[in-house]
């Protein structure tokens, strides 16, 4: 009786570990497809993932930083350079931002990124907005960042 339960227990453990890896893989694939998990790629390696929750938290951090410097920041919106910096991307030639579906692709150099920010959407995705152009939405749902050296 106990031996049978031990065998079931070991099988359960195998399922738990296997299921956890499977769950993570499925979450990554589904999230990347629906824009809820945005990979940040450099040298063909995914170095970080961003989502709407991360954007909200980063916006709070940037807000606090700006308030400390006397400037004002806004909620749910973080500058692209700050978000990329938090992902560890500092040295690059340009950033290629891809949107979901057939939306336009943008290649941005460091000097072009000053007015560009990321804003979280209510559906768990986030948008790329150009603040200098009257908050013009460049990409409604961002799908991928690629940093080219």
């Amino acid at each position: 009786m106990i031996n049978r339960r031990i065998v079931i227990g070991i099988l359960l453990l195998t399922l738990v570990v296997g299921g956890a890896f499977l769950f993570e893989r499925v979450t990554k694939i589904q999230g990347s497809q629906n824009g809820k998990l945005v990979p940040v790629v450099q040298n063909d390696k995914t170095i970080a993932y961003l989502d709407a929750g991360v954007i909200r938290q980063l916006s709070c951090q940037e807000c606090e930083l700006k308030q400390g410097q006397g400037a004002s920041g806004s909620d749910n919106e973080v500058s692209l350079s700050f978000a990329l910096g938090s992902a560890g991307i500092v040295d690059y030639e340009y950033i290629q931002v891809t949107g979901l579906g057939d939306s336009e692709e943008f290649k941005l150099k460091q000097e072009e990124m000053e007015d560009i920010s990321l804003s979280s959407n209510s559906n768990g995705t986030f948008a790329m907005v150009n603040k200098s152009g009257g908050n013009r939405v460049m990409i409604k749902e961002v799908a991928r960042f690629y940093a080219a050296d």
Binding site: I6, G9, L13, A20, F21, F23, E24, T27, G53
Partner: protein, 196 residues
Amino acid sequence: MEGAKKQEIPTSMENPADRFIFNIGLADVIRLTMFGTLISVSRFVFQMPIGVPGHTSVYWMGLLMLGKGLIPKFGAGTIMGIVSGILAIVFGLGKEGPLMAFKCIIPGMLLDILALLFFNKLESIWVGVIIGALISWSKLLTSIALGIILDIPMVFLAMGFGYATLLHVVFGAAGGVLAAVLIKRLKPRLSASWQN
């Protein structure tokens, strides 16, 4: 009639300390409190800056199972969990604040249920591996649930979940094995003196 009176006498004269909490005697509750305290103390005494998730499970789950193995009564795990949870809040362990207590109570409760399923044979190495791994994983799941409650971005919770699960299972199993070895050695020596 007389027989019924005779049956009533032992229950009325029963010492309330014999059924203190969950039908566990006061002496055992004090011993379980000691194990609960050891769990919390060990968490900051043996804290290693190795950055490997779940490494605390070796002594956390080890002590939890050792306590349950030496005092094999239903509710023992829960009592140790409650004590270690309260102390974790007092010591300011973890980033979850008062919710941290759940991370201690849930594995304790699960230990009570799993020990029942394995007929309290915690001195068996394989039972130690299974129970240690499962209660360690329950700690990880509780952390994730607390993360959702505390509005931590899903990306931090979902990424590395497989790796974190594997490490929690391995460290929990290691703690379970250590506990099984200790229970096997200590139980025969303590069973005589640890009687209520």
